[in-house]
Symmetry: C2
Subunit: 334 residues, 2 copies
């Protein structure tokens, strides 16, 4: 059994690292391809080093920046890798352009497709990710869902693939890499608020971005706000002439440092999907700066709320499994 | 309002021709792109000439034969056309690789997407078309369904696009082009049986293909069987060493000639989707050489049955509209 894992965007790297570690530890043959979708070496490859994992065997370069061209380029470049590696499975995570491109490639070339993080739905049609995940789930042979609600979504859609609720591989990562998490500044407060914003629907209108920033500042009630800023968000703030002096703006953090910061922070304000869960894994309150979330369980548990909605009430439960999702996935494939 | 119509496979050409005629007759601006997916000039462009329509403005060449490469190439080539034509809408038909490629392009580049023949479902996961149509419907802004059942499928799926049951554009083609339909041989019987086979799931195993051919021969009970043979079907018959001497094998027919033949034939045996409906439009009994069909209405009406199933009972009704689907589509866009 040989698995070809295709990743491309930053949030996929840690998932891939913990999946690869599980493959290695349990004697499975896996090869990783990095499509180059997120191409900043500082923001992408360092994580493998930080986590003590080898970097991807293949890294594509020269990818177009527009998704309508990127999809075809990734499929073209995958052809060569597949011809040489001859995998039994293609494995993908989440809902990025790279995810969809690899899914289309697998389906059209008849290679069995594993989708990890299957079944998430927002029904927000302004998010490119929503189309990616719906199409990817249609094309998948194995749908590995992180939660019961994702599993139920798949069951209601009458798709080809077999669905399994294996738990969330991001929880695997927290379990496996916990001892290496460390934040070493800069900050002054002992328990700051953490703010992250990066989604296209957050950034595409000045009013929306400015309203969210004002909201977070008011909610913080004087507490320090640490704002590791995504390059694209920074670019938009400059373009919109938005003053960020109320925030402690810092460079983007590595996964290791961000997890360290989440461990010591007071609470989290974010439009990220993954960070909502990471806040929960560290049992920190999270306020989601979007109008809906794929992670409804966290709302139900009271650890997360949508901005401007009611206050948090925290329940002690974990819908994301036991941190052994990768092992379950590999056992199912045997 | 400018519409860019993207076609690529033979069954799409007549739909495109009748849609273009309606755009022209009603003063709408439409440009047609032919992706070159079906690249045999005899089998593709002649239809426009036969129907008195101009050929596509753009024809891509040099496309790969494998769908996993073709998708990206079509998207790449579309970029140039879109940059020069600047359409408000991209319009696609059916469920081919070209359909999906154009749908992905429109979605990723933010151009409003019209899908004509939306909502068809077979849930046969061996058909590449099933994945194409499901993904395409997810990506569409306007879902123009040919029947009420297709419309109900879309309604049950909670998709982004607005769905409309406008009737079937293939019926428009029958209405608009009827006077030019003519079959001029070769045949001897006055009302022969017509046989067509071309689908990959029909051809991929020798046993399946041979079983279907034996079945049709027995059912014909001595009646002449006219078999316009698809090049790929011919290739497979040679490879499998299947004897076709029991059939009157002829070259593929143009649309005009095929419609003429359907008008005068006794009945139709086919694995084609479109021909099931065309047989009905000419009120000829059809036996579908597959294990399921997207056109369940024809089964319900008794004009069509799946091979080896019960006999036909014909009801006088028409679920495909009134032959003015194109006009309804354009009125909705206004």
């Amino acid at each position: 059994m040989k698995i070809l894992t295709v990743i491309g965007a930053r949030p996929q790297f840690v998932k891939s690292a913990v999946f690869s570690k599980c493959c290695f530890d349990t004697g499975r043959d896996e090869v990783v391809v990095h499509t180059g979708q997120h191409y900043d070496a500082d923001m992408s490859l360092k994580i493998f080093e930080d986590l003590g994992c080898p970097p991807p065997k293949y890294i594509f370069d020269g990818l177009s920046r527009s998704p309508q061209l990127m999809i075809g380029e990734i499929m073209r470049d995958l052809e060569e890798v597949v011809n040489s590696e001859k995998p039994d499975f293609i494995n993908i995570f989440g809902d990025t352009t790279s995810t969809l491109a690899a899914a289309l490639y697998a389906n059209k070339s008849g290679i069995s497709l594993l989708h990890i993080e299957a079944g998430l739905r927002s029904r927000n049609w302004d998010m490119p990710e929503e189309y990616n995940r719906l199409c990817t789930d249609i094309l998948s042979d194995y749908l590995f869902c992180p939660t019961e609600s994702a599993f139920k979504n798949i069951q209601s859609e009458n798709l080809k693939g077999d669905a399994f609720n294996v738990g969330d591989v991001m929880l695997d990562a927290i379990r496996v890499f916990d001892s290496s998490f460390r934040y070493d500044g800069p900050y002054s407060d002992s328990d700051p608020i953490v703010l992250t914003l990066h989604r296209s629907e957050t950034l595409k209108r000045r009013e929306r971005l400015a309203e969210l920033l004002d909201y977070v500042f008011e909610e913080a009630k004087g507490r320090q706000i640490l704002f590791p800023i995504h390059p694209n968000t920074k670019k938009h703030c400059v373009k919109y002439e938005i003053d960020l002096s109320r925030f402690e703006v810092i460079d983007p953090l590595s996964y290791i440092k961000m997890q360290g910061l989440l461990k010591l922070c007071h609470s989290v304000y974010t439009d990220s999907g993954g960070m909502q869960k990471e806040a929960f894994f560290h049992r920190k309150p999270c306020i989601t700066l979007r109008n809906e979330t794929e992670w409804g369980e966290l709302i139900d548990l009271g650890w997360n709320r949508l901005w401007k909605e009611k206050y948090l009430t925290k329940v002690d439960d974990n819908p994301y499994g036991d941190g052994f999702a990768c092992n379950k996935i590999l056992d199912i494939l045997d």
